[in-house]
Amino acid sequence: MKIAFIYGSPKAKYSASASLLQELKPLLEQDDIAISEYNFRKPLLNKEEIEQLINYDILVFAFPLYVDGIPSHLLNCLIQLESFFTSANKKDIKVYSIVNCGFYEGHQNKLAMEMMENWCSKAGLKWGQGLGIGGGGMMVMIKNVPMGQGPKKSLEEPFRQLANNILNGASGENIFVSPNIPRIFYKFAAEIGWRKSIKANGLKKKDLSARK
């Protein structure tokens, strides 16, 4: 079975989407599974990439939630893929998506997931399953925390289900999950983070509230 991992964050480094796909990878390690990786960081795909993607059994997208939806550069890529997939006649590709967001609640990714499902219908692909994850702002920081422990305790079972469904080419209900830490801690940590970052940029804490 051939699987394509599609990295949909515009960030080349420190992307939560990338670290989530890295979590999924070991769960898919089997002899008959080959995983290739594609970066969709720009709004335009080249012809080779588009033509290659039709040869996979499974596409797994991972991207950040932007303004309650799909980031614009990725949306451009999806539109290109739609027109290619609809004109080609391979219709049995299955699509899975991991969407992460900066807010705490995983369910805030629901509409982006619906858009991915709507894209599948238009492109003639099959929807497999979606996993929406909240608390994306700390995903890179906790990259090395083992799956199933501490803040990642709530992620273990959803990842296992997603991996099983991918391995079986099966569909499942979309899952939305928040990190295993109290929301107030996440909020507090994020707000301290902004203050540290703005100071590191030579500005003052109060500049966070600057108006133009």
Binding site: S9, P10, K11, S15, P43, P64, Y66, V67, D68, G69, I70, P71, S72, H73, L75, N76, L78, I79, F103, Y104, E105, Q108, L111, E114, M115, M116, E117, N118, W119, S121, K122, R183, K187, A190, E191, W194, S197, I198, N201, L203, D207, L208, S209, A210, R211, K212
Partner: protein, 167 residues
């Protein structure tokens, strides 16, 4: 002022809105727009402004001066078209990075005090029922995040069909 965010060419926009007051601002399709790179520079480097200084670096400021925002967009998969979405992605400097809890959910604090009236006109030939439902929920979710009011959310089959319908 009124702020129009559209994915239209100027000749089509002119047909939809024949007389435009001088203080309104119109954003029309522009293929040279750069996309958000997710750096959060608009919160921690140049707070309130995007670090990409093309013609869309001051969306936060434009929104802060608007009483009404009118979005005219092709409906793509139940969301906005890539151009309109790009403008919205580049608009997060309008918000403050800190969080507030609203309706039991996390959202951003306000940077500005103005409360926008948001009107959205979607168009497209094959908008499915499911896409229409997604789009309606999307505009609601956007209005919670922008802490603004929703006026109209309407759907049309084509740009021509919108003539005379945009108020």
């Amino acid at each position: 002022m009124k702020l129009f965010i559209c994915d239209l060419e100027s000749k089509d926009f002119g047909k939809l809105i024949p007389d435009l007051p001088d203080d309104d601002k119109v954003i029309l399709y522009d293929e040279s727009i750069q996309h958000c790179i997710g750096c959060f520079g608009c919160w921690i480097k140049t707070p309130g402004a995007c670090v990409i200084r093309d013609r869309y670096g001051d969306m936060g400021e434009y929104l802060s001066k608007s009483q009404e925002v009118i979005i005219i967009s092709r409906c793509c998969y139940g969301g906005f078209s890539p151009f309109v979405k790009n403008i919205l992605d580049r608009s997060i400097p309008y918000l403050h990075p800190d969080f507030v809890i609203k309706n039991g959910e996390m959202h951003h604090k306000r940077r500005y005090k103005n409360v926008i009236d948001l009107n959205v006109y979607f168009y497209g030939e094959n908008i499915t029922e499911k896409e229409r439902q997604t789009a309606q929920k999307l505009v609601k979710a956007n209005s919670v995040n922008l802490d603004c009011n929703i006026g109209r959310i309407l759907f049309f089959k084509s740009i021509e069909e919108m003539e005379g319908q945009i108020l």
